[in-house]
Amino acid sequence: MTPTALPATSGVGFKPEHFAAILEAGFDGFLEVHAENYMGAGGPPHAMLGRLREDHALSIHGVGLSIGGAGPLDRDHLARLRTLCDRYAPESFSEHLAWSTHDGDFLNDLLPLPYTQETLRRVVAHVDQTQDALGRKMLLENPATYVTFAESDVPETEFLAEIARRAGCGLLLDVNNVFVSATNHGFSADAYLAAFPLDFVGEIHLGGHDAQEDDAGAPLLIDAHGAPVADPVWTLYERVLARTGPIASLIEWDNDVPDWSTLAAEAKRADALMAGAARRRAA
């Protein structure tokens, strides 16, 4: 049992430019929004989200809480998240295993942290504090990383599993992030997923990445969310589904946002893979 009430269907990250198309064409899946874009007092963002909420399950996905940071959580930001969750009663709230605020400066990226007993205790405390402040359980997402730390002595999968056990939160499994990190750091994505505590997973993310090279000419993948989901990521996703069955699965496309039909087609592809997995599991 994971702390999410999202339906086991596809979903898409909502972009304002798709508002009219979603109303016109209809969409059976759930919608996800970045919490921080809905922290204004009023205006079109809330008008659109309020309208869409009438017809869709909703996931609120925070990108600015800095749960993995060394400093204390921003209480004002927690209060804003609480207000937002109270207003929309989303089926799920999630955040990232990352940090973005240091000494009060907001760096606006999901930055990596070392995995040690010390950082584990801190992240657990931050997840506890967040869940208390929101009065609900949350999901925590595995990151895409470009560097790792010498001091890390806990594998990421174990780190996430331990957070989920101690804080009683769920996990958000970003399959693209797994593929990106595995490629960048030279580990097996399949081995990572084999070790991943899937029982805690309440939602899956699928997104596109960008391929570059590092200084040594080795592949360097970047979690850019500006392209279709790559084939190897679909393959990994299918292998996860074989173990979990259908599960809320989000298509993330944040840069070079395509037209609605392209995005909806990606969501349909996830639905088809879920249907296939359900058939095979029933057989």
Partner: protein, 93 residues
């Protein structure tokens, strides 16, 4: 001006304004305006990386220096300003 006079002036202006506003409001009603959600501005918080290059953030931040040599080539050259057309010249360093 005594309060009574001010009041009378205000009342006159208000009456004139309301007659015009009410007339145009009635026209809007006849036109049967649909609920409008406004022209959406882009949400600015994302959880993705920026456009996939590794170099955009690496040029040195030097407030007075080279970075400012970028030559503005915007639309201002087509707007007539008090200083004439083609208003923006390369910054001389």
């Amino acid at each position: 001006m005594p309060a009574r006079t001010v009041n009378a002036a205000l009342a006159g202006s208000l009456l004139a304004a309301l007659s015009i506003v009410s007339a145009s409001a009635a026209e809007d009603k006849m036109a049967g305006k649909e609920k409008c959600y406004g022209v959406a501005m882009k949400g600015q918080n994302d959880c993705a990386a920026g456009p996939g290059t590794t170099c955009a953030g690496t040029s040195k931040v030097d407030y007075q220096g080279n970075a400012w040599k970028a030559v503005a080539k915007g639309t201002c050259t087509t707007m007539k300003t008090p200083k004439g057309m083609g208003s923006l010249e390369p910054i001389k360093m």
